[in-house]
Symmetry: C2
């Protein structure tokens, strides 16, 4: 059997991490990479990766020629957070009859937040006989799929609380800027006012996925952002948060069922949380019959987690029926320690 | 759309629990129940259940007439732990072109432990256009599916340790007898010698499921049973373990990869574990990139968990392609709080 041919569109931290992961796996080949970053012109994958892996696949600027020449089985699309930005890219991939996994947070469950686009994608994927999936560690896994999966061992569910308390310390300057790290309270309020601070993207999608998974419709969805002010100086390789400035932001969200609070989400992200005694972790509290209380501490690493979930879903996407899928529709992701081709359903 | 028609074969604790659960759900009907227990002759479901639910479905002794008259979409088979005992029952169900979910522990992953029977079931299910699944809380969910699912957020896995420390206190006399509760050490050794003490059934299947899920083949599988002796008197509603006798048994198992220990399983089950300071819970330790450490404490209730996983998998089994499936092949189970029919894939 031929190697599974994967292309990567967007060669930032996530795209590079996926390339590195793929280079350790058997049965799969990185046939093409596309990124518009001018620093990458004339370079190959091994030139950019900070590791010893060999891969002379060039980083190309023209997506059409890359896809047409390499004819991948699947594209890992790592360019956008929002459906709006990813729309035409996904459309292009599907029209070329190529399967797609995207990290775009809003694509993890667009069926309720973007119903028309979701319908258009589903139709287009089916017309072209390919499958589209949006996923990552969050949304896509820890604050939604795992909640749904644990509810599977319950006769009834009355209430749900989900917390992801994580450290931003390993991340680079782009994430620090997105999360307001080091901002004064004044600058934070100005950025919020001007819609320049997104914080975590994907709560709406996680809430929709959980409700839909359990066969429910939320009567209301709400979301809040609050600054996390540090009472001491905090320092990482890429960021400084002086006493009194933002160490990060705390996002919270609620899903209501017939106007009763049913689902609470909490996701404070900050640099150096240990500095003020905050213990990081992923927590899921399901109240019902029976109660189920899960803790993963420390939290699942956000960068590696997103890279792994996307790559580990490749065989499931190739096996799936055509259309727009979510993590609710497919078997669970799993670490691939053998040959990736052995996970393909040849009876498909 | 018609109600989903479910029949239950075996009306012990599990079958009764599933009936009670189904009676709280919308979109599904219990069309038939079969059990050879003579105490059930002439009785209906509501006569037996210790609850206020109304259900006048009779408990029948003749499985053929029950299945032929009620024509269920799916049978919940709750009669056996071993493939050997369940074989002809499953064969009968599949030949009548009825989907089947069974609690038989060895059916949770029979592909390696019983390859010929598994192949025969897969062929028979496909010939008859129906789907067969073995599942439950363990094997089927907490010590295998959840391990595989968490590995999905990992780039690489080096080693796995899984522990389920649970209380037997809620269980009845049959389980106490199976687990040796109250036995003297002498009687324990005698029962082990005569193959009269099974302890937990399903480690082999869980180990196979994890290895197969990750694309690996174990080079060796080992399993041990040890008595848990109590140093104080312990008492439950159904059992007594005097000081010096068995409070339960501790099962352990190991899976080796190229003769290196890769997977460790530990499952001590006893009455009143708190009496000697044992904290119950489900624990999964995945070593790799990144490490993932999960704790669910107290453990997911074994009885309710098995009931819930089996019932919650009904729509997934009805949606699946024909054949013998495992929890690795299907989407994650989820609590069904809406109409069960809304979870059917009408485009199938």
């Amino acid at each position: 059997m031929q190697l599974i041919k994967v292309a990567i569109w967007g060669f930032g931290a996530m795209g590079q991490g996926m390339a590195e992961m793929l280079l350790t796996k058997r049965g799969v080949d990185i046939v093409g990479v596309c990124d518009i970053n001018e620093n990458f012109v004339g370079k190959t994958v091994e030139d950019i990766l900070k590791s010893d892996y060999q891969c002379q696949t060039p980083i190309e600027q023209d997506i059409d020629s890359m896809l047409d020449n390499t004819k991948p089985d699947l594209v890992l699309l790592c360019t956008d957070s929002f459906v709006k930005g990813a729309y035409h890219k996904i459309e292009k991939i599907l029209k070329k009859k190529i399967n797609c996994i995207t990290t775009a947070e809003e694509m993890a469950y667009p069926l309720e937040s973007h119903p028309e686009m979701a319908k258009a994608f589903d139709d287009l994927a089916k017309e072209n006989g390919v499958t589209l999936l949006g996923t990552g560690i969050n949304p896509g896994f820890i604050m939604d799929l795992m909640v749904v999966a644990l509810s599977g061992a319950m006769v009834d569910v009355e209430k749900i609380k989900v917390e992801r308390i994580n450290s931003l310390s390993p991340f680079g300057p782009a994430v620090m800027e997105e999360q307001g790290v080091g901002d004064s309270l004044e600058r934070y309020h100005e950025r919020v006012k001007n819609n320049q601070l997104d914080g975590h993207v994907g709560f709406r999608q996680s809430v929709d996925m959980i409700f839909k998974g359990l066969g429910l419709k939320p009567s209301k969805f709400e979301q809040q952002m609050k600054p996390i002010l540090t009472s001491i100086d905090r320092q990482t390789k890429y960021a400084t948060a002086k006493k009194g400035t933002l160490a990060g932001v705390n996002m919270t969200a609620q899903g209501y069922l017939e106007n009763q609070l049913f689902l609470e989400m909490s996701h404070p992200q900050q640099i150096e949380p240990e500095a003020e005694g905050v213990r990081t972790g992923d927590y899921i509290y399901l109240t019902g019959k029976p109660n189920v209380q899960m803790a993963i501490s420390p939290e699942i690493d956000g960068g590696l987690g997103t890279i792994a979930v996307c790559v580990n879903m490749i065989p499931h996407v190739l096996n799936a029926r055509p259309g727009l899928k979510t993590m609710l529709d497919l078997p669970v992701p799993r670490a691939i320690l053998g040959d990736m081709r052995d996970m393909l359903d040849i009876t498909k």
